[in-house]
């Protein structure tokens, strides 16, 4: 799976860096976006996307918009939502994410192994 491109969208720099480290250790090529705007720009410019790892709650919008954009351009890419957005109901949040086109949801804080497993699963799905 070398050279596979994964876009990490999260407004928190440490979270982006953590995901980046995990993905890189898996031999993937991580790209980063800190806002929805930035993510949409990156998606427009990209020629290949294998997976999107996106936060839901962003300063300039909802991560699901990026999911929609990614799905439109890269229908085979795996999409994983990572969120601490709970609002008292994980199930509803998860359903919303899945309805918005995500393949899976990972709740923050998550164990590194969970992220590894989830991304691997998405890539397999997308591949």
């Amino acid at each position: 799976m070398s050279g596979q491109v994964v876009l990490v969208l999260d407004d928190e720099e440490p979270m982006r860096r953590l995901c980046g480290r995990v993905l890189a250790s898996m031999g993937l090529e991580p790209l980063f976006a800190g806002t929805l705007c930035e993510a949409l720009e990156k998606l427009t410019g990209l020629e290949r996307l294998d997976a999107l790892v996106a936060d839901m709650r962003l300063p300039d919008g909802c991560g699901l918009e990026a999911v929609r954009a990614a799905r439109a351009k890269f229908p085979l890419a795996g999409v994983l939502i990572i969120t601490a957005f709970v609002d008292g109901d994980e199930e509803a949040g998860e359903l919303a994410a899945l309805a918005g086109g995500a393949d899976g949801v990972l709740l923050k804080p998550f164990a590194v192994e969970s992220l590894e497993a989830a991304v691997k699963c998405r890539l397999d799905l997308g591949a």
């Binding site: 709970v86 804080p109 192994e113």
Partner: protein, 533 residues
């Protein structure tokens, strides 16, 4: 039978006394006479007259002197002075000393009768007003237990009686003496059924009565014996909106003066005041109760408001904490994978462990804030209990606590969220665990039983118990007595919320001989097949 006013004629001339006695007697008044001031005062001290017609010049004690003495004895009695030697000065002197009016001899009898009537009207009005005013002042008290003895005392004073009692209808319909004045204790404890004795009859018929002379001679109460020498009595019913409240008994004992129609009228004024006061006191009592209730509700409201605020905040707080926590935990994990030295490894493990603790706290908060019932499915309580004990096994073992189980076989299931209930049990067990920490011979008894459609679980420890002042607070969010870092203060309030959602109750109590017990009660599910849809 009509009771008219009693008039005392004071004159040293027998002819004048006889003439007035006859004329006034013809007009329906009850007339007595005295030959001088001294004799008059003796009679006035012994019985009550509404009016005195007195000569001015008399041997032994003159009219003016008697007037002074009488006004001291009873300012309510009106006096008409009559004299053949009247001058303006004597008249003014008498009026100044409180005489009602002055009439010169020889007088026209019709003129005298008109004056008597006017004087009596004034007496009556004054007396009624006096009763009204004095009772109004006294009856402004709002506590029945203070009010009724005052009323009884006032009745004795105002009606010039020897004893008085107020009997009120009890819940069972009996008339019980609620307050008395001038009565011995035994008599003050009487209890009558409706229709029984005079008071009972008045309560039944609702009509006031005057009884003069021995009770057994009164045809209305044939056969009734009075237990003591009542010579005159008024029994008056007390009414309020809801009906009969009770009766007022006023008695004169062992003396000849009898109650008159005027006294009955005073009693009427008085009783309407008592009724009003009892009503007010009752309203006041109800107001007090309502107020207490409202205060209680307010406290409850403040509590639930606070809980709601915590709930609303917790989701936001959880989000804010979980994000950085994700980073901390993730990087600690990454560090652990990067081949650290022994000490570094230990440090990174500490970071990870503490982060996980933080995550658990946030989860507690979230669960607390979320409220609402999770799943609704049949839950086997014994199973949930066992898994909670399994989760706590390490802590229990570490603290050297022995667990004793006493679960009734065939415990019915309850409807709800097994995970949530398990969490409650775990919280309670961990709480007991902390309470017994450091002690020796810690023992946790878990009892489960079912009765009357409810399942009861009792967790009893032999730890330090709960200080009485904390018993009410331990279910409050963030209330903790554990040292800083040992507990979030949320476990029990989360448990409280969960049990409430399950329509159950959870309470804490101290066990005699030391230790605390948490009691969880949940509605049992009915057997399959008969469960209501």
């Amino acid at each position: 039978m009509d009771f008219l006013a009693k008039i005392l004629v004071v004159d040293d001339e027998p002819g004048m006394r006889e003439m007035l006695a006859f004329e006034l007697g013809q007009r329906g008044y009850e007339v007595a006479s005295a030959a001088n001031g001294e004799e008059a005062m003796a009679r006035l001290r012994a019985e009550r007259f509404q009016l005195v017609i007195s000569d001015v010049k008399m041997p032994k004690m003159g009219g003016i002197q008697m007037l002074e003495a009488l006004k001291k004895l009873d300012p309510g009695v009106e006096v008409i002075m009559s004299t053949g030697f009247g001058t303006i000065e004597t008249a003014v002197g008498a009026m100044k000393k409180g005489a009602y009016d002055f009439i010169q001899k020889p007088f026209n009898l019709d003129e005298m009768a008109a004056l008597v009537e006017k004087a009596l009207e004034k007496t009556e009005l004054k007396a009624v007003l006096g009763v009204y005013e004095s009772s109004k002042a006294v009856l402004s008290s709002l506590k029945l237990e203070e009010l009724l003895p005052l009323v009884a005392g006032l009745a004795v004073k105002v009606l010039k009686a020897d004893d008085a009692s107020i009997m009120l209808r009890s819940g069972s319909g009996c008339l019980e003496v609620a307050a008395a004045a001038g009565l011995s204790r035994e008599r003050g404890n009487a209890c009558l059924l409706p229709g029984e004795s005079v008071a009972g009859l008045v309560a039944q018929d609702g009509e006031p009565v005057i009884i003069n002379g021995p009770l057994k001679d009164d045809p209305r109460f044939g056969g009734l014996e009075s237990s003591y020498a009542i010579t005159s009595a008024i029994v008056y019913p007390l009414y309020a909106d809801a009906g009969l409240l009770g009766v007022l008994n006023v008695n004169r004992v062992g003396r000849p003066e009898q109650f008159t129609a005027a006294d009955l009228r005073y009693a009427a004024v008085f009783c309407s005041q008592i009724s009003q006061a009892i009503r007010n006191a009752e309203l006041y009592r109800r107001l007090g109760e309502r107020l207490k209730e409202i205060q209680g509700m307010q406290a409850q409201l403040v509590r639930s408001e606070r809980l709601a605020a915590v709930g609303q905040l917790s989701a936001g707080i959880a989000h804010e904490i979980n994000n950085p926590l994700g980073g901390i935990m993730g990087f600690a994990e990454m560090l652990l994978k990067s081949g650290l030295s022994g000490q570094q490894r230990e440090d990174a493990e500490t970071i990870l462990r503490e982060s996980r603790r933080l995550r658990d706290i946030v989860q507690d908060l979230l669960r607390f804030g979320r409220g609402g019932m999770g799943k609704s499915e049949p839950v086997d309580l014994a199973g949930a209990l066992e898994s909670a004990l399994r989760l706590a096994a390490f802590e229990l073992r570490r603290a050297g606590i022995a667990v004793e189980r006493s679960l009734a076989p065939g415990l019915p299931k309850v409807r709800g969220d097994g995970g949530q209930l398990q969490q409650v049990f775990l919280n309670v067990v961990m709480n007991a665990c902390h309470a017994m920490e450091g002690g020796k011979g810690g023992r946790l008894r878990v009892l489960a039983s079912a009765a009357d459609g409810r399942v009861t679980l009792r967790f009893e420890d032999n730890g330090t118990g709960i200080p009485v002042e904390n018993l009410d607070r331990i279910f409050e969010p963030f209330f903790t007595t554990k040292p800083s870092g040992k507990g979030t203060g949320l476990g029990l309030s989360v448990s409280y919320g969960i049990i409430q959602e399950h329509k159950g109750t959870i309470r804490a109590e101290n066990v005699p001989g030391g230790g605390a017990a948490f009691v969880v009660e949940l509605p049992a599910m009915r057997e399959a097949g008969e469960e209501a849809v």
